[in-house]
Every structure is written in C-alpha cells, then in structure tokens.
C-alpha cells in the first residue's frame, strides 16, 4: 500500500481517537500514554507511566525536552513514523505487544505503526486485514530484512560459510517475487530493543570479544572499540549506524540523516534513562528501605562494571534481605514478603548454578567447556543493567530448533554449514532466525542473539528477540526447560518478582 494512501486512511480518525482514550482509560493510565509522531509535546525531565507491575519512570538528563522539530519525534519518512513510534516512553523506550494491540483497536490499524514495510507480516499481504499484522499484534515482532549474502557490521560484504534455504514461508517475505535469499534478502521477525540507558549498552569493559576471539572492532567514527551490544544481530556498531539503518528502513526515509539530525538523536538517546520506579506489591518506591532501584541510580552510576569483580548484579535490592523490624512494621505482611522475595530473586539470579549446555557463545568457541556450571550472571554480568560486559552474542536456542517453540507462523530456514559443522547443532540447522550469523557470516554464530538489557522489563512484554515469552514467568519457564535448572516454585516466583522491579 502506498504511503499516501495510508495517510489518507489515517486522517478521519475522530472515532478512533475516542476509542484510544477509552482504551488507555481501561488500563487506568494517563491519556497521553501514546506519543504520536510530530505531536509536539514536551517530554518532561521525569515521566511516570503505570504498568501491570507498578510504575515505570523515565528520566531525561537536561530535560524537559521540546519535541517539536526534534528528529527523534518528527515523522521523517514516507510512512509517517518517527523513532518514537516504536520507542515509547511508557514501554521503556521499546514497544509492547499490548500497546500495539491498543493502537490497532484505537485506529483500526491506520496508525503508521502498522506500516506495510515491517509492521505487517509482509508487504504483499492485504494491509487492511488484522491477520496480516498478527506477528506485531500478538508477539510485538517487526520484520527485519537483512541482505543476503551477508554484510557485516559497518556494511562490509562477507562470504558466508553457510547456505540458507527457505523450508517454510508462511508470510511470503522469503519467497515472493523480490523477497527471500534468491532475491538477495532474508526476512526475520524481532522485538524492538529499548532506546534508553544507552551508556551501559555502549560501555566497553575489556578490549577483547572473547566469544569471537578477536579484539573488539573499532568504531568507524571515533576509532574507539565498539561494545557490540546495540542490535540483536550486532549489525550496527554505533548509534549513527543504528539510526541510519532504522531511518531508511523502518521510517522509509528516502534521504540520509543530516549530521545535525544525527547529533540531536544521539544526544537524546544518551540522555534518557528508564527503569521501574515503584511497585504496589512492594508497597511503594523501589528506592526505599535501603534499596536503590529506579532510573536515578542508572543515570548516576558508571557503566561497564563487571559484577563479579565489583558491585554484584542486582545488589540494588540487597537491603531488602535484612529489613529492620521498624521498617517491617510499616509494611503489610504481603508487601514485606514481596520485598524479601525480590532480594532472594537477586541471589538466585547470581548464585543458583546450573549446567549450561550447547549454547554457542558460552560453550563454544570460548574455552569454558561444554557443559559449564554457572548462573544467570555468567552472561548477565554488568552491574546495574544485567547485559553482558563483553559483546553479548549468545545462542540460548530461542530461535533455533530443537529448543525453540514450533511456531508455524514464522519462516523456517535450513542452514547448511559449508566448512566446519556448528559445534552444537551439526552441519544442518533449522532456525527461525540465524541471528548474529546474518552479520558475521559464520555458521558457528547461527542462533546467537545479543543479550537484552534487563531494565524496564515490566513495561515491554513479550520477551526474547522473537517474543516467545509472553510474560516474566515465561522467561523463567524457558530457561528452566532449556537448561533443566531445577528451580523450586519459590525460586521461580522470586525471579519473576525481581524482574518485575527492574
């Protein structure tokens, strides 16, 4: 569908706007929950939005920010989207499937969010049909079209050491004319990664990428080592490359961003911090009774610290292990128990070890061995954020058989390694998303997805790159199934409670 048609369809929306107000009212939140491109609101220095687990707070350093004319908030391209369309403050600068559903209900599918280019399962499908947007509406997935053969980060061509064939293509974007490996591209479906807390995602702790066996690649703009933690497949090594990729694809911006636009977007992205701020289950603020949850701590801390040799990961909630009798008396038994559960969850996260098996990026090619005993913080090791200090490309099996769920609404690819077989899957691999291999060109990287930031989780379900976990319990259940951890029911709930306050 032409972009102009979409705009015409978007205009007569008075009824839809009323429906939107009713929809957000039903969630009990402020009516300004959705930030539309170009609406010109002022982004406050501190902005709170409710979610199912409490309140998420977003801080803007140097705020408030006038968004009128700001390239992050203005519709730059043909489809009417802005960066903010998919990076909503209420959703921890990501986009939840629930918000997508609300936008569909509010606009009858006319919002630029549902642009054919990637907000539908495939542009060849009838765009007015809700079913054509099922992956976005049900699992928060956008179509990501990667070049084939592979181009590495910074755009250099790579000769892949594997072939790719389409086994199943339920949406047409890997086999219709102009689509698929035979047409020079591969379409996969992924969640939006949060644009917040960026100093942590850009932080470089050490000079090496131990998973790839080299020193870190250098940023083409400033010559400094790149963190490798921005994109699910590490296809963009710095914010400029990421925003150029996003503006040309997701916004269908035909021109190049100007240096001034790039600087304004980058400055904004480096100024925004988000995290859960309060929890009714905890009886109030996550920065009370000795805890230091919330985004202010993120804003004020140094990024890139390895928890194992410094401040332990999620020690923000350690004080809740020993709440004084005086403080305890101020809480109901349920709220006291919740806080204690969060503190236990942090310890389970750090200390409950299990056998990690067959996960490339952990069990190969690094020398940790297969299997290796460790805990969640083996990979989620950065203090305050829980992402990987090293570039975080790891295969948890979330996109690749036999571990991934058998979803028939996703394309399925057959990867055949031309050289050495994959160390855990063998020569032939079935995957919904080859992940980092679509950037590195290496068969050994099939299925690797960059670790997610763990802040603001409560605001942005579903989880994992392909939305396989509908809620926080789903995350725990996946790990339990994948690694046969043996969590007790109490430990599972403790982990859910921990993640709900991050």
């Amino acid at each position: 569908m032409a972009a102009a048609d979409r705009f015409r369809r978007s205009l007569p929306l008075a009824g839809a706007a009323l429906a939107l107000i009713l929809a957000v009212g039903a969630r009990g939140n402020a009516p300004d929950r959705w930030w539309s491109p170009g609406e010109g609101r002022v982004l406050p220095a501190s902005l709170d939005y409710a979610n199912d687990h409490g309140v998420l707070r977003t801080l803007v350093v140097g705020g408030p920010l006038k968004t009128r004319g700001h390239p992050f908030f203005e519709p730059l391209g043909a489809n009417g989207r802005a960066c903010v369309t998919c990076h909503q403050p209420a959703d921890a600068m990501s986009l939840s499937a629930r918000t997508a559903q609300e936008r569909w209900d509010a606009t009858g599918g006319m919002d630029p969010l549902f642009a054919a280019i990637d907000g539908s399962n495939c542009p060849i499908l009838p765009q007015g049909d809700k079913a054509s947007h099922s992956l976005l509406l049900e699992r928060g997935l956008f179509r990501i079209q990667r070049p084939w053969p592979v181009r590495t980060f910074n755009g250099q061509p790579v000769a892949p050491d594997f072939t790719i064939e389409v086994v199943r293509d339920p949406n047409g974007c890997n086999s219709a004319p102009g689509y698929g490996p035979n047409a020079g591209n591969v379409s996969v479906y992924r969640r939006v990664r949060p644009v917040a807390n960026m100093k942590y995602l850009l932080a470089v702790g050490f000079a090496f990428d131990p998973k790839q066996g080299y020193a870190l690649p250098l940023d083409p703009d400033d010559g400094k080592p790149q963190s490798g933690n921005l994109m699910a497949d590490n296809r963009a090594g710095n914010l400029r490359l990421q925003m150029e990729d996003a503006s040309s694809v997701h916004l269908e911006f035909a021109r190049a961003l100007t240096p001034a636009q790039i600087k304004r977007i980058q400055d904004f992205e480096l100024s925004i911090y988000t995290a859960q701020q309060s929890s009714p289950a905890a009886g109030g603020g996550l920065d009370t009774m000795g805890a230091t949850g919330g985004p202010a701590k993120l804003r004020d801390s140094q990024p890139g610290a390895l928890g194992s040799i410094g401040t332990p990961v999620w020690s923000e909630f350690a004080a809740w292990d020993k709440i004084s009798p005086e403080d305890a008396a101020k809480l109901t038994p349920q709220k006291l128990a919740f806080r204690q559960s969060v503190a236990r969850g942090a310890r389970v996260f750090r200390d409950k070890t299990f056998l990690i098996t067959d996960s490339a990026g952990i069990n190969s090619r690094m020398g940790f061995g297969n299997p290796v005993r460790n805990s969640c913080v083996f990979c989620h090791n950065m203090t305050q954020m829980g992402n990987d200090v090293a570039p975080g490309q790891v295969d948890l099996g979330t996109t690749t058989q036999p571990f991934a769920d058998p979803w028939d609404d996703l394309p399925l690819f057959r990867i055949t390694c031309l050289g050495q077989p994959h160390p855990h899957y063998g020569k032939v691999i079935l995957t919904y998303d080859p992940g980092f291999a679509l950037t590195s060109g290496k068969c050994a990287d099939v299925g690797k997805i960059t670790l997610q930031s763990m802040r603001g989780l409560a605001a942005r379900a579903p989880y994992f790159s392909n939305g396989l976990a509908r809620d926080l319990r789903g995350v725990v259940d996946y790990y339990e199934r994948r690694y046969n951890i043996g969590y007790t029911e109490q430990e599972k709930q403790d982990l859910v409670n921990l993640m709900s306050v991050l």
């Binding site: 050490f206 250098l218 080592p225 040799i309 805990s375 855990h424």
Partner: protein, 256 residues
C-alpha cells in the same frame, strides 16, 4: 575378574605405571564431565589415557573439553591431591577439542567437590585500570601467543593476557612495525594410535587472527604477517612446559 585386572595392569606401558611428578602425558580420549558443584565453573573434566588406563583430572586446562568430541590431552603429572575430582591431576594441562565424535558421559559428583573458581593468573584488567608503563630501554622483542590444536581462536584468559602485555609494551616502545608469524605443527605424530598433524593453513590463520587483533588495538602501527610449517617446540615460559603447546603458536615481533 581379579585376574583380568591383573593382566590388564601387566599390559600397561611401564611409563604409565611409573608416572612421576613432572612427567609429560599425551593421549587422545573422550572427556567425561563430573558434575561437582562448588559454585560457578567448579565442575570436573576427566580423561582416561587409553594406553595406560589411567584416568586423569584435566580440569585446569585454559581451553576445556566439549563432551561431544574427543580431546588431545597434553599435561604434566602434578603432585596435587586427587581429592577435588577423584583422579590424579595433570597441571599444567591442555585439552584440545578434536573433530572425532564422542558419546556424552557425565558422572555425578560422588562426593567430590571440584574446585571453587579462582581467577587464573593470566587475566586482564578492565580498560578502566591504567597499565604500568614497562621500563626501557626498548629493543626488538617477541611476544608469543598460543592456540588449541589446529585452531586459530584467541584463548580467553591466556592469549588476551599475553596480547595485553604486548600492546602495553608496544605503546611504550613505539617500534616501527610488528611482524606476526603463525606456526603450525604439521609434522605427523601418532598419539593413542591416531596420527595427528595440524593443517598447514592454520599457520596462516593464526598469523592473520593475531594480526587483526593487533590492528584493532594498535591501529596506527603496520602489522605484517608470515607463517611457517613444521613448528618445533620452544622453551618459552608461557607455553607452561608443554612442548605441543609451544609448537602451536604465533609470534609477535616488534621491529625498530
């Protein structure tokens, strides 16, 4: 049964029966994981020498086994206690993953505790920690990195440590260029009845792998590559007295 065990013992090579502290042991076998649990990275790796029947604790290798594949074990008999994992210890030791498939085997802890993880001595500091400037005078010098059998992959908490030292020295010494020479142990040797030889190509792969890393760490400095086959053992201390390890190397030579 007892007779069979005795006969089997008599069939063992003398050297195996008389292994003494410091002796070099080299064999190929399928690794066994013992699920000892003293916290993170505490599990045990065991491997049995098919020639002697002796099971060894090979857990201290900087690159550990994959239970799906055979390993080339190279190590020296240690006087350390067999208590952690239930087998006498090889240390220093190397366990190179070979392409030959193995059936997975895991033993329960059976009361063995493994080893509580401690950082290995070769570990690098974060970039935020300033490095001491190495004292001069500076002259041509060689730093040597080491690899798993037939691989060019930079070994975590081994090669990165050596390269970090090299780069710190190079930044102070300011040589004109670096020449990286990759070596491969291409001369065939029979180990546990298998003929082992590294691919000739791995010499070049090692040189280019290390050169890429150096170009990223020292972008202003020219880095050239060379490679040599039929590598001979050296007595470089960072090879930890294991001849096979010393053959699988890449040398970084600073030229003034």
């Amino acid at each position: 049964m007892r007779t069979l065990v005795t006969l089997a013992a008599l069939a063992l090579p003398l050297s195996a029966q008389a292994a003494e502290t410091g002796d070099l042991v080299r064999f190929v076998s399928c690794p066994v994981y013992r699920d000892a649990d003293s916290g993170k990275k505490s599990g045990c790796w065991l491997a049995t020498d098919p020639g002697s029947g002796q099971r060894w604790d090979v857990s201290q290798s900087p690159y550990k086994p994959n239970w799906d594949f055979a390993v080339l074990v190279e190590g020296r008999v240690s006087a350390a206690s067999a208590d952690p994992c239930g087998a006498p210890v090889l240390e220093p030791v190397r366990t190179s993953i070979l392409p030959d498939p193995c059936t997975r085997h895991m033993l329960p802890a059976e009361g063995y505790k493994g080893r509580k993880f401690v950082l290995p001595p070769r570990n690098i500091q974060p970039l935020s920690v300033a490095r001491d400037t190495p004292p001069g005078p500076y002259a041509e010098r060689v730093f040597t990195t080491y690899f798993e059998f037939d691989r060019d992959f930079l070994v975590y908490q081994y090669d990165d440590y050596i390269i970090d030292k090299a780069v710190t020295w190079v930044r102070a010494a300011k040589p004109k260029k670096l020449v990286v020479t990759g070596f491969a142990a291409t001369e065939p040797e029979t180990v546990s009845g298998q003929m082992l030889a590294e691919r000739p190509e791995v010499a070049r792969e090692r040189a280019e792998s290390i050169a890429l890393t150096l170009r990223r760490l020292l972008p202003e400095l020219p880095v050239e590559t060379k490679w040599e086959l039929a590598a001979k053992p050296t007595d470089d201390p960072d090879a930890d007295t294991i001849p096979g390890q010393s053959q699988r190397r890449a040398e970084i030579r600073a030229i003034f």
